[in-house]
Symmetry: C2
């Protein structure tokens, strides 16, 4: 993209009412716009990061046999009554509205009930199982407080996967496969080293569950960590009885702040029984289906990445999710510089390299500051000086060193994925 034709602008200051570092940086860099507390629009650069994260998650979900679909935001009251989750006293984050005829409808905060009800059309025999389906859905949750920027939104994109299995054993296999897939996702977005499978409370269906926690001061959770042995326990189950039941040692944990970047739940057969989803097994017997649900907040993950990969100059995106690989800045207004930069822009796009081209009539200092604020992994400068040496000036976002390189070397560096 050419910045001369891009409507967003960077700003020096963040809105006064914005408390979260991730949202401050993303607003200053022109990636997001705050519509209201916990409700953010994603501008062209921000949308690219979202799509990059979604694509990584999609690849990993397809890889373990997930089928992508998209459920509806409007939901039927009757389904949620069957599982006793319609009442605002039971679920306190519902947004609700109503149809013209006065019947109430819910706005999607999760999808266990509608997806399970729908599966009655498709699952009846053991031959139809197992089934793993997922979606990227715009969830709406009426959070009382929403002060963590895009890390906890009233509106956000969630990847939610639902698994339907014939037996506890089959369920455990997919549960394990999804745990591994989640860890690959965190690795790919650069958070693998500081993200832990963490034991937590299980909610309505099981005493304990697993969640994925990334160490960050911006997190809302406290976890107890044994880094060496990769053991992590959420504060909510960090007590003697729980540690006993989980078969974990009693001490040697470090207390750290963390953000939940994914959760996975065993749902057992409770939902499928309440909603009437069953299957006929090979022996002719009707049996309930074992379910699991697996959430991963896309906006939240982007927020945690923004918090972790940033410095006093701005964002520092890992290549795998960056809105572009290179920030190309033309310095000086000579026709020769302009032509050379235009040509390089076209050549890079042709090589399949994503480029933010700063072709604005702006002073170099502004261009360099914007390149850093936006956190683009590489910066390339075309100037009268580089023209003279028939080379380009290349700098990494994470280093202050610049070097002059040939176009061939440049393309080779930028094509390198890591």
């Amino acid at each position: 993209m050419r910045l001369s034709q891009t409507f967003t602008k960077t700003t020096k200051s963040a809105p006064a009412d914005e408390q979260a570092n991730n949202a401050k940086l993303l607003i200053q860099a022109g990636f997001i716009h705050k519509e209201m507390a916990g409700v953010y629009a994603f501008l062209p650069l921000g949308l690219k990061v979202i799509e990059n994260i979604k694509q990584i998650v999609r690849e990993e979900m397809n890889n373990i046999g997930g089928s992508e679909l998209i459920m509806t935001n409007l939901q039927r009251q009757e389904l949620w009554e069957k599982t006793n989750r319609w009442d605002d006293e039971v679920v306190d984050i519902w947004f609700k509205t109503e149809l013209k005829n006065g019947s109430k409808i819910g706005l999607a905060w999760t999808h266990e009930e509608p997806i399970t009800d729908m599966m009655k059309n498709y699952i009846s025999s053991y031959r139809d199982l197992p089934v793993n389906v997922y979606q990227f859905q715009n969830k709406l949750r009426n959070e009382l407080r929403a002060k963590s920027g895009i890390m906890r939104g009233r509106e956000f994109i969630m990847k939610d996967l639902y698994s339907y299995s014939r037996s506890e054993e089959e369920h455990q296999k997919i549960y394990k496969a999804i745990t591994d897939a989640y860890m690959r996702i965190y690795d790919r977005v650069g958070l693998g080293e500081i993200t832990y499978v963490t034991r937590a409370s299980g909610g309505a269906f099981a005493k304990y569950s697993d969640e994925f926690q990334t160490i960050t001061d911006a997190g809302e959770d406290i976890i107890y960590l044994d880094k060496e042995n990769k053991i992590a326990i959420n504060e909510e189950v960090y007590n003697e009885q729980a540690l006993d039941e989980l078969g974990l040692k009693k001490d040697g944990y470090e207390k750290v702040k963390a953000a939940e970047v994914g959760n996975i739940f065993h749902l057992g057969t409770e939902k499928s029984e309440k909603l009437g989803l069953s299957f006929t097994d090979e022996d002719g017997q009707e049996k309930p289906i074992v379910m699991g649900s697996y959430g991963l907040g896309i906006n939240r993950l982007m927020g945690v990445i923004a918090e972790h990969f940033s410095d006093d100059k701005g964002l520092v995106w890992p290549k795998s999710v960056a809105p572009a690989i290179v920030y190309l800045a033309s310095v000086g207004q000579s026709e020769a510089v302009k032509n050379q930069a235009d040509k390089l822009y076209d050549d890079l796009l042709e090589s399949g390299i994503s480029v933010i081209y700063d072709d604005r009539d702006t002073r170099p200092g502004q261009k360099f500051a914007d390149a850093e604020l936006m956190g683009i992994p590489h910066r390339v400068v075309v100037s009268d000086k580089t023209l003279e040496s028939n080379s380009f000036e290349l700098k990494s976002r994470t280093s202050d060193d610049t070097k002059l390189v040939s176009q061939e070397e440049l393309v080779k560096t930028l094509e390198n994925k890591s």
Copy 2:
């Protein structure tokens, strides 16, 4: 995708409460699921069609300089009060809900107000203009009746673009460019020949507007058509005075049913003035901004394509939007057939050809019927017979003729885009 691992199934009958042909076919073929009237989930095959249509629209919007972003579903009451569109008496399709603190919020049925308000952060000078932004947004509209399947939903994906121009002249240029882009979109999805730019009433901002109407008996509109001269007029403005004002002849029109597949509006400076968006021109004067808005319902377009391209056997997707290019069916349960079909499946995917692989243990008649119901452009059969001749049986969805071809010929045919 392998059908043995796909949870959706085709069914012989559509739900009794479904009146629209597009939804009946799409439900029977396993593309969509009806959650409630006008609210449909998109299953893996249906989602692929949606994404194919979105990609065509995206390319054409980028091509005329549009920047993609995504606004929020939750909207602030105060913005809509400024333009007098909050009241249910004025806009009768609002869904509304409320935050914990009791303040009311609207659910997105369109985005002129929030986008225009946001632009105050980015537009202040003539140098910042023009701006063209678009999104694919999940719109919610509280329709009293929703009986046209996915052609008129209470929840649907809309591509909406908003243009901000310095002058009426600049606005007319982008308006014309978008009109042309829309026609390219209809051409690419196969509806070009039966889609017309149609004069219609203009709503609050202009006496007349343009919309795009596709001839179909499933449509809810009546238009008057002069096919030869490509003139079309919506019934709502088909009267002597309007024809006069539009400079159109008085007779020689054919009356046909049609479905609106896109609309484009001149908004003038009314919205930008009410919401306080202005710019400083080169002469230092503060001026209001000329706006346009341009809608294209993705689900509706898919519904119209489904209505138009179907026969008594099912759907007949054009290649450009089909969920896969080829339906590969293995016939017979011999190991040799299975191996050959598996190998062809891998080879086709490697060549970048999208395949639905019917590897189910089902009788051939069922496989052939499903291939036709799903409307996949080509069908390839691997059987003992084809093995003997070292070839594959190829059939087009629109012909009853089959022919035996080599793998090389097969790939060549399938790679052909038209």
